[in-house]
């Protein structure tokens, strides 16, 4: 008979309660947001009871205002600079065997290939062997067993290029670096929750709420060359006065340690090609770095003249490390040793690389929405949702009477559940997302309508109200399932297609379908059963 076990009743109402509790913070959006900010900064958090959930629906850029940028990283830029840096190494290595290979000259070639001509064709095999000797094994999982450069010969001409595995490793590193730099730069302005995400193989999506124009962000990201190598004049206290052409900078990790530095840098981070965590001869964590051609020359000359003195690696006006030059460092690559842990050396490598963008960025898409426009959209959406919801509620009440009221309660619960789940999964609400919710309000009653209409039909064959209700639910189910699965398929495809706002729409539409089926099948039914078991009406009107 028409009944729902107490256990299921309890489960249904528990789900509803949890869902509504999760949705609750959104009614006090500003208050909870302030509370969450306070919690994340470790301040005293008051204004929201800590036992209540405090997850909020994220507002999309079109509602909150801000900048959205899609940048493409020109990863092949890096191949060219690696090739440029490889050339002196190759030249020096071959120069040592001048008797066999003759003179070495670099030929014109595409940027990512190094073409070298030797004057003694007979020495080509030996030359190739020497250059191959410069190759380093690749340490990534996929590239295991291969080396970073490939050498081929054709007569007296050697062609040196990066292996595919190395190119992939370089791409990955470049992307990682670019992400890191962009994140650091944007974090400096300290806006709330910027999104910096890798998209596909070579793209970065940047979303910064509350920014007036995308130009600000581009400028911010473009700010480079914050990394310098400077001569250390001596240690200092915070209050020391630097001489002419000198500056005082603090150490990044040691409190109260300052250095007096020559303010003209020896080399800047713009000339750094690469930095990798590594180990020194004694097996202690260290960082390998490599300069481009001009950087290598400057650094080589400087180290030759200043053996035994200290120089400082400065990032954003803080001294990362101030090692002592042990020996002349020609060829542009060197190693920074210090009291590093493995983690510190990894971070330092990232920081060193983060000095300048490794490759140029091309902005493929820029969208800026003003905060006022976003607020207008929220207001309009809210108003429309309220009016639309009210119209639907009145319409349902007029059509189905008491059952319509049950459906309306389910509809309101449904709205609460949508917000509850959106908050729980941290989904982003966009303007089309609001439209999706309004649309859901209209469509959510569909499952109820299907059931109610079916109950009406079953009542005609006069099996008594309880049986009619039961049959109504039973027989409407297949239509409800089929109809909603097809809609869910389209919501899934929308999500897959969508970027930003459209994806927000897909999320609310998809969630709305799931919650509306839940509320129609379980919540309305539970209400009807409760009512029915209490009143035991002889006849019902649907």
């Amino acid at each position: 008979m028409l009944n729902i076990s107490p256990f299921r009743q309890a489960l249904i109402w528990l789900t509803v309660t949890v869902g509504l509790l999760l949705a609750l913070p959104n009614l006090f959006y500003d208050r909870v947001e302030t509370y969450n900010d306070a919690v994340s900064t470790g301040e005293d958090a008051t204004g929201w009871p800590s036992f209540l959930p405090s997850n909020l629906v994220n507002l999309g850029l079109d509602l909150r205002g801000g900048a959205h940028l899609l940048a493409e990283v020109n990863t092949p830029d890096v191949y060219a600079s690696i090739m440029d840096a490889t050339w002196p190494e190759v030249r020096d290595a071959l120069a040592a065997e001048r008797d066999t290979v003759g003179f070495v000259t670099r030929e014109d070639s595409p940027d990512d290939i190094l073409v070298v001509r030797i004057s003694e064709p007979a020495g080509a095999a030996r030359a190739a062997e020497i250059v191959r000797g410069l190759a380093r094994p690749i340490q990534t999982l996929t590239g295991a067993g291969s080396t970073d450069i490939e050498v081929s010969t054709s007569g007296p001409v050697l062609t040196i290029q990066l292996s595919d595995a190395e190119k992939q490793a370089v791409d990955d590193r470049t992307m990682q670096q670019s992400l890191e730099i962009i994140r650091r730069r944007i974090d400096e302005v300290g806006t709330r929750e910027p999104t910096i995400q890798r998209q596909g193989t070579d793209r970065i999506l940047i979303q910064v709420p509350g920014v007036g124009s995308s130009a600000e962000i581009i400028e911010l990201i473009g700010t480079t060359a914050q990394l310098t190598f400077q001569q250390v004049i001596g240690p200092a206290g915070a209050d020391a006065t630097p001489g002419v052409g000198q500056e005082i900078l603090p150490s990044i990790d040691e409190q109260g340690v300052f250095y007096i530095l020559d303010s003209v840098p020896v080399v800047t981070g713009e000339e750094l090609v690469d930095a990798q965590p590594a180990f020194d001869q004694n097996g202690r964590p260290a960082v390998n770095f490599r300069f481009n051609v001009s950087g290598a020359r400057k650094f080589g000359d400087y180290t030759l003249d200043h053996i035994g003195t200290q120089f400082a690696i400065v990032l954003d006006s803080e001294v990362i490390s101030a090692p002592v030059i042990q020996s002349h460092i020609p060829g542009g690559s060197g190693i920074i040793t210090g009291n590093f842990t493995v983690e510190e050396s990894t971070n330092l490598a990232v920081l060193l690389r983060a000095g300048a963008l490794p490759a140029s960025l091309e902005f493929l898409e820029e969208r800026t929405i003003g905060p006022q426009l976003g607020q207008d959209s929220i207001d309009a959406g809210q108003r429309a949702a309220m009016v639309g919801g009210l119209l639907v509620i009145v319409f349902m009440g007029m059509t189905y009477g008491l059952f319509g009221i049950f459906a309306n309660i389910a509809l309101i619960v449904n709205l609460g559940l949508i917000f509850g789940v959106l908050s729980l999964i941290g989904a982003t609400l966009t303007l089309p997302g609001i439209a999706g919710i309004v649309l859901t309000v209209g469509m959510a009653v569909d499952a109820n309508v299907l059931v109610f209409e079916r109950i009406r039909e079953e009542l005609k064959t006069a099996k008594g109200p309880a049986r009619a209700i039961e049959l109504g639910y039973e027989r409407a189910l297949s239509a409800i399932i089929d109809a909603n699965i097809t809609t869910l398929i389209t919501a899934g495809i929308l999500y897959w297609l969508g970027s930003g706002p459209v994806r927000g729409f897909a999320v609310t539409l998809g969630l709305g379908i799931i919650t509306s089926v839940f509320t129609a099948i379980f919540v309305t039914r539970a209400l009807i059963v409760l009512w029915f078991s209490r009143k035991r009406p002889k006849t019902i009107e649907v």
Binding site: G370, A385, A435, V438, D482, T486
Partner: protein, 323 residues
């Protein structure tokens, strides 16, 4: 006291005027294709690249003054339209400026936007840019591609699902109805030259979802009735099913349209095109599930022995002449 959109026991012959209803639909579909071929669509920057700037001012917009101011910048094709909306404040005047993709850049250079701002501020010092959106040709090309994939993907997924759950004739009927809905929507957008961007693709997919939802409810009843009335001619089964589900069809479309009309009137101009597309789509979608999908099923006929218990019952195929 209950309000009834549809009287309780309808017995409408939906096939009576098939030449007008189904035929008319097909004619409209052809006209939509013609409109699309002739006028094309007013593609937004999502699909053809370029920049859209939304300006806002406390002064009324003087479109021709804006145009004159921007002409000197030589930005190529520039279109300026004033935007009206009942939700605007009394002193809120909004215009939309669209600039074509510049040849030399993936995205519009900031300097271009700055020069537009300077030029417009010379006309109206109060003018402010509330949103600036630029899409480069590379991304717009990809967006077109993924939009086409999405629509085709959605249609294929649905056809497969209906095929699995029903018979192939139903799948064909459903798809013809969907093509009808999408076609008529694109036709209307082409005729009225409403901006067609990524959001409209989302609207099209929503229409697809809604319309198939409607169609499936009717099909579900057809399947049930085919089992129940094994000797009833197909045309009568289809009619009976449509009549039985008519109240539900009108009710759901009614509530959805109520919500959408509220959104259309009060939701602001930013999503008006999107909401308009969905509203229109729901009207044609409801129509197509009553007058298009079933007709296709009738033309193709349905195997009546799909329960495999009663192979001899009834005409195996409906005779189209009978309708």
């Amino acid at each position: 006291m209950r309000m009834r959109l549809i009287p309780d026991d309808t017995n409408i012959n939906f096939f009576k005027l098939a030449s007008v209803t189904f035929g008319g639909s097909m004619v409209l579909l052809v006209l939509s294709i013609v409109a699309f071929m002739t006028f094309g669509l007013n593609y937004g920057i999502d699909f053809r690249g370029g920049t859209t700037i939304r300006t806002e001012s406390t002064q009324p917009v003087d479109v021709s003054a804006y145009r004159t101011a921007l002409e000197s910048l030589e930005l190529g094709d520039v279109s300026i339209t004033e935007v009206f909306d009942p939700t605007f404040r009394a002193d809120q005047f909004v215009a939309s400026v669209r600039i074509q993709a510049q040849d030399d850049a993936e995205s519009v250079a900031q300097s271009t936007i700055d020069s537009v701002r300077t030029a417009l501020q010379a006309v109206d010092p109060e003018v402010d840019f509330t949103s600036v959106e630029s899409v480069g040709p590379k991304v717009s090309g990809e967006l077109i591609q993924s939009a086409i994939f999405a629509v085709i993907g959605a249609l294929s997924a649905i056809i497969i699902y209906i095929w699995l759950r029903f018979e192939w004739q139903f799948a064909v009927g459903g798809i013809v109805a969907l093509i009808h809905d999408i076609g008529l929507t694109i036709g209307l957008f082409s005729l009225l030259q409403i901006r067609f961007d990524l959001a409209i693709i989302a609207a099209l997919l929503t229409i697809v979802g809604y319309s198939i939802n409607d169609t499936v409810v009717v099909f579900d009843r057809v399947r049930e009735n085919l089992r129940k009335y094994k000797v009833m001619p197909l045309v009568d089964v289809l009619n009976l099913s449509a009549n039985e589900t008519l109240a539900r069809t009108m009710m759901t479309s009614g509530t959805t349209l109520l919500a959408l009309v509220a959104l259309l009137a009060l939701g602001g101009d930013v999503i008006r095109g999107f909401v308009f597309a969905i509203t229109w789509g729901i009207i044609v979608g409801t129509y197509s599930s009553i007058y298009v999908a079933k007709n296709v099923v009738l033309m193709l006929g349905v195997k009546r022995d799909w329960s495999k218990k009663n192979p001899a019952t009834g005409g195996r195929y409906a005779d189209i002449e009978d309708s």
